[in-house]
């Protein structure tokens, strides 16, 4: 793999690079556990969070990650900025470049926005894709892989991949960038991916996707016996057509409730990238069960993003074999 100075897609990560990043994240998790949660590593670097779409956990997670590495952080939300006066992405970016941004973390409603920025020549800094439309969200995939690896291997996680681990991704696959990035990274790490969704919420052509597709959640739980189940948020803001008859029916057929929790068994992980629609894709009983990793995912997100920033900003600024 040729060194890249950006993190745009989970597909950019080779197996060795991905494992290397997860191992660095493991070290970062150690830092997040101690009393002085700060490293001087990125002193004098500037990280800009460029958010054209609402976000809570991803933005504060990147902000905290950058601050724990002693970088300066600028938060830019499109609302209340010159963008609402009609400034273009190009002008916004060039303004940030003129201010000396070393990393731009971008979230944008248009798929491919991060790629456009990285290949535009408008900016020299490294670009991190923090979610572009319905395309990708690579750091979410990294933190999910990290969470699975930690739950399965505990202290012996370092150096391990996810070979043979069965992961089911359930729900709104069609609109989910989390699902796309996870599919790519989980396959890279050797996991077996199952997609479970109503046909209306699957892409029209999924033949190129390296996954087994199921249309029945209970049947999948019974036959596959997954090690981890990833529930996706029903993206109400993207539901511009009749994808399912009613929310109540969706909750009954596709929601993770107490009955399905029993099918899951004690050791399996129940994951959700957040924010959760409680009572829709996940019931309160399931979300608060010991299987649930929702809060671990949030905590791990900081460690993983510290690893990504470290890798982009140290040395020859590249995600390469570590």
């Amino acid at each position: 793999m040729s060194p890249t100075q950006h993190l745009l897609s989970a597909a950019d990560l080779t197996r060795d690079t991905a494992i290397g990043l997860l191992d660095i994240a493991e070290t970062m998790a150690g830092v997040n556990d101690r009393e002085i949660k700060k490293l001087p590593t990125l002193r004098g670097k500037t990280v800009v969070n460029l958010f054209f779409e609402d976000s809570t956990r991803t933005r504060i997670s990147f902000e905290l990650a950058a601050k724990r590495l002693s970088a300066d952080v600028i938060n830019f939300a499109a609302k209340g900025s010159s963008v609402s006066k009609g400034e273009s992405l190009k002008d916004t970016t060039q303004t940030l470049e003129a201010m000396g941004a070393d990393v731009v973390v971008i979230r944008h409603p248009a798929s491919g926005a991060a790629y456009t920025l990285a290949n535009s020549g408008w900016i020299n800094g490294a670009i991190v894709n923090a979610g572009d439309g319905t395309h990708e969200h690579p750091t979410q995939a990294l933190l999910d892989a990290f969470t699975i690896r930690r739950r399965l291997h505990g202290a012996a996680s370092v150096g391990k991949a996810l070979d043979g681990v069965k992961v089911a991704i359930v729900g709104d696959i069609l609109h989910s960038r989390v699902a796309r990035s996870n599919l790519l990274l989980l396959n890279t790490l050797g996991a077996e991916v199952h997609l479970v969704a109503p046909p209306t919420l699957l892409p029209a052509d999924s033949s190129g996707w390296q996954a087994q597709i199921h249309y029945n959640l209970d049947a999948m739980l019974n036959t596959v016996k997954p090690d981890a189940v990833m529930m996706l948020r029903v993206q109400l803001e993207r539901m511009n057509a009749a994808f399912f008859p009613s929310e109540r029916e969706y909750a009954r057929v596709w929601g993770f409730n107490a009955d399905r929790l029993r099918l899951l068994g004690e050791r399996a992980l129940l994951m959700h990238p957040g924010p959760m629609n409680r009572g829709l894709e996940i019931s309160a009983a399931a979300a608060d069960s010991p299987n649930s990793t929702v809060l671990e995912q949030v905590a791990n997100g900081v460690s993983v993003r510290m690893a990504v920033l470290y890798n982009l900003l140290s040395g020859e600024r590249s995600i390469e074999n570590v």
């Binding site: 660095i24 070290t27 002085i36 490293l39 001087p40 040395g315 570590v322």
Partner: protein, 179 residues
């Protein structure tokens, strides 16, 4: 390139034994003593020193008093050098607050590694004393840092390379100068 062996495996063993005794002597025993090895070879050396100390002072428990300190994140050359692998930091069970911490590394050269180690240490806690033990001191310091326990002083030129080989890491023992 000419390679010259300056310390054999036996020489290293003798130096490690002497350093261990010097540490016990200067500390008047092993009370509050903590060894922290700096990866990669400092960790192997700290384990060897701990073994000798324990042979002489059975009250010294390496499991509680020996750790490792990864300093990668504290280096001052991160922006210019290729990305380095980060390894684990293991704090000894008894912690480092109010302890006598002996940092262990293989070669003392510019002093920048030790500067980084001191910064890393201050983020972990507040030791009573910090001492430095190295197998080889090759001179050419760039910072006001010196070692308390030295295996061998080796005057070198900057063009020469020193390679410390330890069986735990490299499969053989010896110190070689390449010029």
């Amino acid at each position: 390139m000419v390679a010259r062996t300056v310390l054999t495996g036996d020489d290293i063993d003798r130096a490690v034994t002497r350093i261990a005794h010097e540490i016990i002597e200067s500390n008047h025993g092993t009370e509050n003593l903590v060894l922290l090895g700096i990866p990669t070879r400092g960790v192997a050396l700290s384990n060897r020193i701990a073994e000798v100390i324990q042979r002489n002072e059975p009250n010294f428990l390496p499991a509680e008093a020996v750790g490792r300190l990864d300093i990668t994140m504290y280096r001052d050359d991160l922006a210019t050098n290729p990305t380095r692998a980060v390894t684990e930091t293991i704090e000894p069970a008894q912690g480092i607050d109010d302890r006598v911490v002996v940092l262990v590394d293989d070669v003392l050269y510019s002093g920048r590694t030790i500067r980084a180690a001191l910064d890393a240490l201050s983020d972990l806690g507040r030791p009573k004393f910090v001492r430095l033990a190295v197998l080889v001191d090759r001179g050419h310091r760039e910072l006001p840092i010196r070692a308390d326990f030295v295996g061998k002083n080796l005057p070198t030129s900057r063009e020469e390379r020193i390679q410390v080989k330890l069986i735990e890491v490299d499969g053989e023992n010896g110190v070689v100068i390449e010029s």
